[in-house]
Point group: C2
Amino acid sequence: MRAAPTQEDIRRQNLGALLRHVHVLGPTSRARLTAGMGLNRSTIGALTTELAAAGLIVEEAPRDTSGGGRGRPSLVVRAQSQRVYVYAFTIGVDRLVAARVGLGGVILDRRELQRPGSGFSPKEVAEALGGFVAQMRLSAPHDGVCVGAGVAVCAMVRGSDGTIPEGPTQDWRNEPLGERLSAAIGMVVMVGNDADLGVVAEHTRGAAVGCDDVIYLHGDVCIGGGILSAGRPVAGGDGYAGEVGHMVVNPDGRPCRCGARGCWEAEIGEFALTRGTAKHTIGGLADAAARGDHDAEEGMRRVGDWLGLGVANLVNILNPQMVVFGGTLREVYLATAAQVRSRLNRTSLSVTREHLKLRTAALGDDAPLYGAAELAFARLLDNPLESGLAPAAG
Amino acid sequence: MRAAPTQEDIRRQNLGALLRHVHVLGPTSRARLTAGMGLNRSTIGALTTELAAAGLIVEEAPRDTSGGGRGRPSLVVRAQSQRVYVYAFTIGVDRLVAARVGLGGVILDRRELQRPGSGFSPKEVAEALGGFVAQMRLSAPHDGVCVGAGVAVCAMVRGSDGTIPEGPTQDWRNEPLGERLSAAIGMVVMVGNDADLGVVAEHTRGAAVGCDDVIYLHGDVCIGGGILSAGRPVAGGDGYAGEVGHMVVNPDGRPCRCGARGCWEAEIGEFALTRGTAKHTIGGLADAAARGDHDAEEGMRRVGDWLGLGVANLVNILNPQMVVFGGTLREVYLATAAQVRSRLNRTSLSVTREHLKLRTAALGDDAPLYGAAELAFARLLDNPLESGLAPAAG
């Protein structure tokens, strides 16, 4: 029951909408912005002038002017991707990634650290990411402007303050990750769960573009879910929505690390979720099954069946248009797609799955990284001229 | 990336916001509207004048003027509940309800038809509800204005057009319920699922007021769920979200009428869900358990355990602030609350349940009816002056 926005709100919304447009869709002519945003030409001109003066976009003559010939060709509006950027990070169980991502979603620089089988303490994470940022800062352009930082973490994240109650490894307990990383890199770092950010990324520039009801499933040592409903993230009261790996699908089943029995992630089985030894990866299992190994075939059948059962439950509960498999689940799904679809068709209601698409993450393992960049860009896109952005150098 | 609203959009939004305010919260002083909506006094005055001229509200001196004495007391704005109304209906498996509901959510008139054990064909539903409307129309005030009609049905509803693919009884197949009822009562009837409308009602004026992340579970012959995320309904791509009764919780369990095995509603057991004979109702079971009947005790334990398991899954997936038990699940929950909570605590993650409240529907069996009224009022509240409302008679 909030009242309608003021004139100032409207100007800010329009600036944000235009900048988001070129950020998401890439270079766009003024004519297409006019049509796409439902504003008149002079308003679009005023908005682009303001954004250009702030150094956020450039306007240039279109490269290809052969088409029409009648009248002046419409200027093309392009994000200042080299100049305006964020830092984006992912914290996996045994892998850290840091990137400098330009406006428009362009990865400009990228560093990675792997430590298979052991993982990182919060202190090690902060040191490593802080070091990466120092390196990347040196190679950034002199007139560059950093407008934010975001991190995707393979753990539950309290929505109110970015605290991590548990995991990824045992020395994480009520970890104030946002505070720690902010101190390490000298600017505010927004924190999100990897699956929650993965779904945002796949919706913005991946497999789910144009799909507003989406579930993104991310496999690592655990299974996390990111849920979009009508294009908006489903966060839950405290930000913990999407713990789909702890949906019980088999009450007398395998013990789960959470203390319950028969959780989805426990039933799919550790070999399908971890980057283990060759023998135990899903790829190794698929190879063995292709060679006629009976146990491997049975293992594949079992993994696909459980994967399909959990997906069927989520489809009945949420009626998504698309389920996207990311992280290690990408490979699991590719190896068991027929089994997954078969179980899904037996177990979900025909109407809830009628228009369902199953896809792998188009952004691959980088979906959460792109999502962390979106999180970092959010403040700029909400309010392009008041986000602490320094004026353009020239 | 839509552009910001125009001046005309803003006026409409403000009129709608003010009318929604008094519709939901009841009579409200201009001073409180000014504070609550963040608009200035003269804008509020202009809006109330327009709404009063349209016959939607009245303004009157406050009854209690003893308090202050300094200055003129602020006028109180009240919805024209007797004059402006909708028709709201519910279609249960064996019960039809029709009501005339005034602006502000006041049930002004109400009719009911029960047919235990057999149910109604679509044709019988249309005839019965058409007859009820004809009766209620006769007792409505002469200057009354009907601004909409809505129905809550115990079946899946396709979001795009209100078609019912299946159920409540076997002679329903791809039933164009909205069209049929619209023809029967001579005005457009909006169609919603009973649980989807139940959660809206409990959020607007029931147990979940102030809670924006809510799951409402409605028991009838089946279990349906209505989900709110950040105050907005989670509908799914085709409007079928919330089929929580067909979440598989026991893959080798009981056969379900949907064709799968071990669905939640199949495991909780028919006796807990249907209004059966006394012996098989949950009330009868609870009485027998209280008398020390061992089988009844075991039955109660089992029902509560399965109910708790399904709730735990939903809590892990959606992290709601509240789960509301409605329809027959109200009684089931009351009889098994300790068992439900015990299973929930063993099976859900501590963080996802930390702030969770479990409640019964404050609107009782009428939650879907109130929700159907909200559905019917939506057009008026979105655009108070252009919803085909006849001008006030005097």
